[in-house]
């Protein structure tokens, strides 16, 4: 992806900030909306270079669609993860088999890497220890496969098919 | 009924306090602090409902922000200087 224009990035930041402001105040009072718009413009001008690289390109309908589909998938994975945790904590013998494994990812975008790391941290039995380039080092509570390929198949593959479309 | 939930969360906070005082390494203690702050945020939100005052949610939000950056600061310090 090439450089996107500054205006696009600025508009995207202001839009996101304004939506957050509406959620924060929780009202559609014209006074709140006006002040919110003013401060979204100011804060956006201060932070848009840090915040986003792609600007309005993030609002591509395909990306938004995949993102919406990703939310229930992720929540379901999270609930399964917690039932798994409940089983391991409440079981009297404490059935754990921990270790640190290595995974590879096909994602190249930093935000995509963050989303993948957070998804890994919140889903069954895995927590991201470090990220170096495309190598993920993951603490796995129940190691099933020590090899890089096997671990990637188990841990990163399920998320990548969504995240690749959203963030690449 | 809401008192029961408040009590249960308070019990959870006290249980994690065990790890805070016991915890053999520094990392254990900071993990305990991290969990305690998350629990406390939930507790504050429940208190907002208990007192029927929506403005207490702002307190919970600011507390979540400050606690998060605090935990990151501890973690970075432990990793090797700031």
């Amino acid at each position: 992806m090439g450089e996107t224009s500054k205006i696009s990035r600025y508009l995207y930041t202001v839009l996101i900030l304004f939506i957050i402001w509406l959620f924060l105040t929780g009202s559609l009072d014209p006074q709140e909306v006006t002040i919110g718009a003013i401060f979204a413009l100011i804060v956006g001008a201060l932070t848009d270079e840090v915040f986003t690289e792609r600007g309005l390109g993030n609002l591509n309908p395909k990306r938004v669609l995949y993102f919406t589909a990703y939310i229930p998938y992720f929540l379901w994975a999270m609930i399964m993860a917690n039932l798994d945790v409940a089983y391991r904590v409440l079981h009297p013998k404490r059935p754990i088999n921990p270790g640190i494994v290595e995974c590879r990812t096909v994602l190249t975008n930093n935000v995509g890497k963050l989303a993948l790391a957070n998804s890994i941290t919140l889903t069954p039995g895995t927590i991201t220890l470090d990220v170096k380039g495309d190598r993920y080092f993951i603490h796995w509570i129940d190691v099933k496969d020590k090899s890089v390929e096997g671990a990637s198949e188990n841990i990163t593959k399920p998320f990548e098919k969504f995240l690749k479309v959203i963030f690449e | 009924m809401i008192e029961v939930y408040l009590f249960l969360i308070a019990v959870a906070v006290i249980l994690s306090m065990y790890r805070f005082f016991r915890g053999p390494t520094t990392a254990d203690r900071i993990v305990a602090v991290d969990i305690m702050t998350t629990l406390t945020t939930g507790l504050m939100v429940l208190f907002a409902l208990y007192y029927r005052r929506a403005i207490f949610l702002d307190v919970a939000l600011v507390y979540a922000v400050l606690a998060f950056v605090g935990v990151i600061a501890f973690a970075r310090y432990m990793e090797g200087g700031l």
């Binding site: 930041t13 935000v111 790391a117 | 600061a73």
Partner: protein, 237 residues
């Protein structure tokens, strides 16, 4: 050991006298005359829903100016004490990509939370000081994530000065119009927002003052963080 016993005995003595003194204060009785006045008149005189804010900014506005000055002196003192020619960060490792990207994503949100807190000072338990602290937290987070990051002093220091000057200017306009320093000219003379107490644009100059205080506190605390996080280089006196 002796020290510790001495400390415990000392604390016990102080505690005893404090308990004895507090024993004289009648709890639950209606003795607070000033407080009662504030609570009864705060809405019509200042237009703030949050009485604490009205007391801090309106009735005791001059004290608040003093507090901001104290913070300014503290910040200057830290800078003076820690000043060296060559200073650098001691962090050995850069934060991982997760932390740096997270910091970049969360910075605008934390700043917006800070803005929300100080602009709603007259409606919610917030105000300039917590809002400014939240904004400073956003910059602290950037400092923690990036080992080479540094705030732009050319923007921050003039901004801090402007906020302080703005506070005094608002007070002086009050002096010109109403006869005393920090007279609430927006509320008392123009009466803007009399009909919508409890909405955002009410309570006279409280939102303006709190915006200025928020900017000032935020920049000052960021300056303190910037000073404290760097350490002098070896031999760099």
């Amino acid at each position: 050991m002796v020290k510790r016993i001495f400390a415990i005995v000392f604390i016990l003595i102080i505690g005893f006298w404090m308990a004895k003194a507090l024993d004289q204060v009648p709890f639950g009785q209606d003795r607070m005359l000033v407080g009662k006045y504030y609570l009864e008149h705060v809405k019509e005189e200042t237009g703030a829903v949050n009485a604490v804010t009205a007391v801090v900014v309106n009735y005791r506005g001059f004290d608040t100016l003093g507090e901001v000055t104290v913070l300014f002196i503290a910040s200057t003192g830290v800078a003076a004490l820690l000043w060296r020619k060559k200073r650098k960060r001691t962090a050995k490792t850069e934060g991982s990509v997760v932390l740096t990207t997270g910091a970049r994503l969360l910075l605008p949100f934390i700043m917006l939370f800070g803005v929300y807190i100080f602009i709603h000072g007259h409606l919610t338990p917030g105000g300039g000081f917590p809002g400014g602290a939240t904004i400073a937290t956003a910059f602290l987070f950037l400092y923690l994530a990036f080992t080479v990051y540094e705030v732009d002093h050319k923007i921050f220091e003039p901004l801090e000065g402007l906020a302080g000057v703005g506070y005094v200017t608002v007070g002086l306009i009050g002096l010109a119009i109403g006869g005393y320093f920090l007279f609430d000219w927006i509320w008392q003379t123009w009466g803007i927002g009399k009909e919508n107490i409890g909405r955002l644009l009410s309570a006279g100059f409280i939102p303006i003052i709190y915006t200025l205080i928020g900017i000032k506190v935020g920049t000052e605390l960021t300056g303190i963080v910037d000073n404290m996080i760097k350490e002098p280089e070896e031999g760099g006196q």
